[in-house]
Amino acid sequence: MGFRKLFAKELRSVLPLAVVFAVAIVLLHFFVLYKSPVWDDDFIMVMSLFLPFLLTAVLAVGAGYYQLHIEWKTNSIYLLLALPIRGWKVMTAKLAAVLTMFVCSVLWIAISFALILLRSKWDEVSAAEDMTELVPAMLNLALHTFWMYALAVLFLLAVVQFAFLCGQLVARFKGVVVLAAFLGALWLVLRVTPLLSQLLGWMPDIFYGGASDADAEFLHAGPFVVLFLISIGFIWLSGYIFEKEVEV
């Protein structure tokens, strides 16, 4: 089974979760629309955007853990190990499937919000704000926030995969080892990233623009690149552990 087939198989396995989540989001947005005359605008934003976005990341990380957990539980790990595919490719296929679900869910939330809630408030919003100035800034904010969020989820998925596989190195106290590996890996990244980022200080900055020039910020690109590379490193390490070390 090649990488593409493996990816398709993993995508099919997360599809039911994605569909249920999508339906739940639409129902939530209709509920918020029903309550919108009574609720504050801030509360509406939290319920309709912030909470779903947070939940989609939590689900993605949970799905990443569950993907591996179910392989061991259903003994399909034997089949995976028998396949002539490198360990890092197996991990990448799983991760890619979950990330695809995550990206599609985020887009779904945005579309659902725009069609159900923003449409009913559009007149009010466009009356209160100068849209010609606001739209480019909002697009900038949205796109940058999206890829940063996706990077954070990618990183967490890579660490969760690594932690799970560390747990499989032992016969007992797997949960303790998983937790220890997760916390240890996170700490290592917290410590190492500022040092490595300094080496990439030459990289161009990211303009993270707000609605006015006073809200604009310049972000170093280096830390994001370091986080991405560390995530790749964890994926490779997970693949190595998967291939060579894991107890079945």
Partner: protein, 367 residues
């Protein structure tokens, strides 16, 4: 063997990482996370950019006047503005307002400034005032408005304000305020005051005529009020001092502190910390999951009746705390302090009742 050796090294590394992380967080605490967060923002470049792109500003001052005639009510609506309301020396309503518009260049700032005006509407004896820009409500962070409103005596004042700073001083007439996330100061008002405030910080003083106050997630200090007070508080923190009139309060979460009031007090609390001291009037308190503390001057005299279920009655007063005869698990206390002039009826569920006695001055001197 190599297999097992590599596995051992991996597991040992995980253990070492965990140990180091615990030590690091224990000693460095939040420094570790601050260092991680600080690496992302290019502070010097951001500050230089903001400084170089400081916005041009245009300001204007304008004044509007109306003769009172058939008008009985003035309503002013504001978002992110400063409002000061005072009493007019004559029968003229005056609104003096300043507009400050900021933009990327002077020309755009001037254009924004010209677009802003206060629109007036008169209907059913009410003069309604609200700032608009090109016919749309002003809720733009780049436009700042400040109002000084002079209103004649005997007129009703209505204010709607968000994220602003509001002062009302010396007004003669009823006042109605709807406030969101404001700093609000209301002093020297002769009339009935109704305030509905969320997330605000309020100071109300010198009101003659009664007060209806709704407080959500805000703080309020209320003092020197003559007239009945009706209070509804949701996760609010309210202090009342020097009240001459009845007090009826419905409070959920937060705290309520009454001091030096004259008149009957009736409080229903849920999850609210209550403290009452030096109350000259009958007290009826019902509290659920919020402790009630009383400081009772002997000189006033109180007839006490307290009951607590799933809570304790704690006091140094010489009255016994007894279990209820009906085996309900309640603790009961009854007694008379001083002359027993005022009655105190306290019912607590899942909360404690704490009673302190304050000796009279003569006794205190004698001691």
């Amino acid at each position: 063997m190599v297999f097992r050796k590599k596995r051992t090294i991996l597991l040992a590394s995980v253990a070492v990482l965990l140990l180091l992380s615990i030590l690091d967080v224990a000693f460095r605490k939040e420094e570790l996370f601050e260092a991680f967060g600080d690496q992302f923002l290019n502070n010097p470049r951001t500050e230089a950019y903001v400084k170089a792109h400081q916005e041009a500003e245009a300001t204007a001052e304008r004044q509007l006047e109306w003769k009172r005639q058939d008008l009985g009510d003035v309503k002013l609506t504001s978002a992110r503005g400063r409002i000061a309301v005072k009493r007019s020396p004559d029968d003229t309503i005056r609104l003096h307002y300043t507009v400050a518009a900021s933009a990327k260049d002077k020309e755009t700032a001037e254009r924004k400034l010209e677009a802003v005006k206060v629109e007036e509407r008169t209907a059913d004896g009410r003069l309604s005032l609200a700032a608009t820009a090109n016919g749309k409500p002003v809720d733009d962070g780049s436009v700042k408005l400040g109002y000084v409103l002079h209103i004649p005596g005997g007129m009703k004042l209505s204010l709607e304000s968000e994220n602003g700073f509001v002062t009302v001083d010396g007004v003669q007439g009823d006042v109605e305020i709807a406030s969101y996330s404001d700093i609000l100061e209301l002093t020297g008002v002769s009339g009935y005051v109704a305030v509905d405030a969320s997330y605000g910080s309020l100071y109300l003083s010198g009101i003659k005529g009664g007060l209806d106050y709704k407080n959500r997630y805000g703080e309020a200090t209320i003092e020197d009020v003559e007239g009945a007070i009706a209070l509804m508080s949701r996760t609010g923190y309210t202090h009342l001092t020097g009240i001459a009139g009845s007090i009826a309060a419905d409070a959920e979460s937060g705290s309520l502190h009454l001091r030096d009031t004259t008149g009957p007090v009736r409080i229903v609390g849920r999850g609210t910390a209550l403290q009452l001291e030096q109350i000259q009037g009958d007290i009826d308190v019902s509290t659920d999951s919020g402790d009630a503390t009383f400081i009772l001057p002997e000189a006033e005299g109180y007839a006490l009746s307290a009951s607590a279920q799933n809570g304790a009655i704690r006091t140094s007063l010489p009255f016994p705390v007894e279990p209820a005869a009906d085996d309900s698990g309640k603790s009961l206390l009854e007694g008379v302090i001083g002359t027993g002039r005022w009655s105190i009826d306290v019912q607590a569920v899942s909360a404690d009742i704490i009673l302190h006695a304050k000796p009279s001055l003569q006794q205190a001197d004698h001691k």
